[in-house]
Amino acid sequence: MTRKITFMKAINEAMDQSMERDERVILLGEDVAGGATIEHLGNEGAWGGVFGVTKGLVEKYGRERVIDTPISEMGYMGAAVGAAATGLRPVPELMFNDFIGFCFDTLLAQGSKMRYMFGGKAKIPLTVRTCHGAGASAAAQHSGSYYGLLGSIPGIKVVVPSNPYDAKGLLNAAIEDDNIVMFFEDKTLYGIKEEVPEEYYTVEIGKAKVKKAGSDLTIVTIGKMLYVALEVAEKLEADGVDVEVIDLVTVAPWDQETIINSVKKTGRLIIIDEANPHNNTATDISSVVADKAFDYLDGPIKCICAPNTPVPFASNLEQLYIPNADKVFDLADELIADLKKS
């Protein structure tokens, strides 16, 4: 049965159902329950995560499975790697993806390489939940989008859901996966509501989704940028331009087949990525498409990214930072100028 729930509730429900299915699944992170050892709280969480994403889980599963950590990202992320290597299926929460620097070694040099270094003997079934994205006035150290950084590391999978349905299914799939999966939650999407099945289901990691079929121009998006592309597609439709919108869903390993097939059909490609503009997912997609589908292209591949700056605080500047429909529209207009003339 489906009913409308928020992006946040969908993520919460995935953790709940995964914990119910498998006792090896544990949550850990800063205030994922909140109020550890405070007598009058007992098994009641004080917070349920800084945004409330893990709310209600400590009451159901107890403090042995929903573990408050000190503010020690390096310690608990490394512990999650160690627990995964020895048979648990931990789901640590990195409160903001900008904190990755504190615990990078545990993922870059330890967890992601163990299976390879140990000749295939290790399995690291670890799902790291973290939030990203500008638009919440959280400024430079709480607003970045670093999925591309993580996605460049062999041994790590990276997913960035854009909607509640995918969020639930992808998180379940991530927890079932025997590898490290980084699960990126855009904090500005937590409130969006959509129909989501009540029962347990998974969404395939590594498969992009065609959200709107079209024949003139392909727009590939990551996470929240889907909504920018849909807005552009609607505007262009009025001009008789048929846009294909693809939600990348998985940043690593990204779905080359779906994107290349689309470009072969449309001959034009725009990629929208909220990350900073260099060495990111958009540039990677662009390079692969240029290599493998060059003969099908009718114009340059356009990457629309955040500028090469940290995220600013002032709201007007922050809005300028985030790729928006106007920027995409201008570029798209240029790309399809020949179509409009004909």
């Binding site: 544990i26 042995e64 950590t69 000190p70 020690s72 390096m74 310690g75 608990y76 992320m77 490394g78 512990a79 999650a80 790697v81 160690g82 627990a83 995964a84 290597a85 020895t86 048979g87 648990l88 931990p90 070694d105 545990t106 040099a109 330890q110 390489k113 163990m114 299976r115 390879y116 270094m117 140990f118 000749g119 295939g120 003997k121 290790a122 399995k123 690291i124 079934p125 062999p154 041994g155 999978k157 025997d178 590898n179």
Partner: protein
């Protein structure tokens, strides 16, 4: 804690000899150019790995260091597989893809040597969390050097183990030098053990050249951990026979004084003498163990030399689990 009996003493003496012979041979062969890359030899510190691991089973875990061959041998890893790994051969413990700095065998509870100094602390804590969560009485030993004690992971790892009362024993091999820099310069605290006060857990410094002392202290700490009484820091004062890595000129080592006196101690000879005096070993038995160990290492070298290099396709294998 199991008292040191004849069987255990023989096991320890065998492992000590295996480590020394293994490392002396790797030293010799490395100089000839037959072994690629970097190697960091454990020779000189044998009393620590063996005195601690004598209390462990395959179901207990250890995390190791740059200087990991000794921990591997003491944890029961196969000598042939180890030597083949260091040679970069397909028959190695890690199919030739880990090498000396990342040698591991999870089936033996050996969670890996570590190329990152201090990398083992949080991983050991995670294995300890697993042991506690699954309500086992298994323990984790986190070996680390005096150099690693100045990494942030030392603090975060030990703090977590202490607040969660995890069955993790933190064993510092203080060989006086982090690479070429003395511990006395690097650490504001005189000893590593005294830092245990900050975490409100037991901390003790022992003579790491004295097998008996290491064995007894580790045994007590491991017993406490098995009973759910939480972590301990054990600092073993030791000395490495070779440099930080092979090729190190070791200009920083003292030519006289207390450091030189320590350098001249041989923990294997000390144990042999004491064990024979205590009738834990006979002279004949000790001689036989020594001879067998030389043979076992020679066999391991032959095995490694005769083994195939990895297939080219192996480059792409084991990045992800299916």
């Amino acid at each position: 804690m199991q008292n040191l009996d004849m069987k255990k003493a023989a096991w320890i003496y065998e492992k000590m000899n295996d480590i020394r012979n293994f490392e002396d041979e790797v030293h010799r062969i490395f100089t000839s150019g037959e072994i690629p890359g970097f190697v960091h030899l454990y020779a000189g510190e044998e009393a620590v790995a063996t005195g601690v691991c004598a209390h462990l089973t395959d179901a207990d875990y250890i995390t190791s260091t740059h200087r990991g061959h000794g921990h591997c041998i003491a944890k029961g890893c196969d000598l042939n597989g180890m030597m083949a790994e260091i040679y970069g051969k397909e028959t190695g413990l890690c199919k030739g893809k880990g090498g000396s700095m990342h040698i591991a065998d999870i089936d033996k509870g050996m969670l890996g040597a570590n190329g990152m100094v201090g990398g083992g602390f949080p991983i050991a804590v995670g294995a300890g969390l697993r042991n506690k969560y699954l309500k086992t009485d298994n323990v984790v030993v986190c070996f680390f050097g005096d150099g690693a004690a100045n990494e942030g992971t030392f603090h975060e790892g030990i703090n977590l183990a202490a607040i969660w009362k995890l069955p993790v024993i933190f064993v510092c091999e203080n060989n006086l030098f982090a690479e070429a820099t003395p511990q006395s310069y690097s650490s504001a605290s005189k000893t590593i053990a005294q830092r245990s006060l900050a975490y409100d857990i037991p901390g003790i410094s022992v003579d790491g050249m004295d097998l008996m002392e290491v064995y007894k202290t580790a045994g007590e700490a491991i017993d406490r951990a098995r009973k759910g009484e939480g972590p301990t820091i054990i600092e073993c004062l030791t000395y490495r026979k070779y440099g930080h890595f092979e090729g190190d000129e070791q200009k920083y080592k003292a030519k006289e004084g207390p450091e030189k006196e320590r350098a001249d101690l041989d923990c294997i000879q000390l144990f042999r003498k004491e064990a024979i005096a205590l009738k834990l070993l006979t002279k004949e038995q000790a001689d036989e163990i020594e001879a067998n160990s030389v043979k076992a290492i020679a066999k391991a070298i032959q095995f490694a030399q005769g083994s195939p290099i990895p297939r080219p396709e192996a480059l792409y294998e084991d990045v992800y689990a299916d």
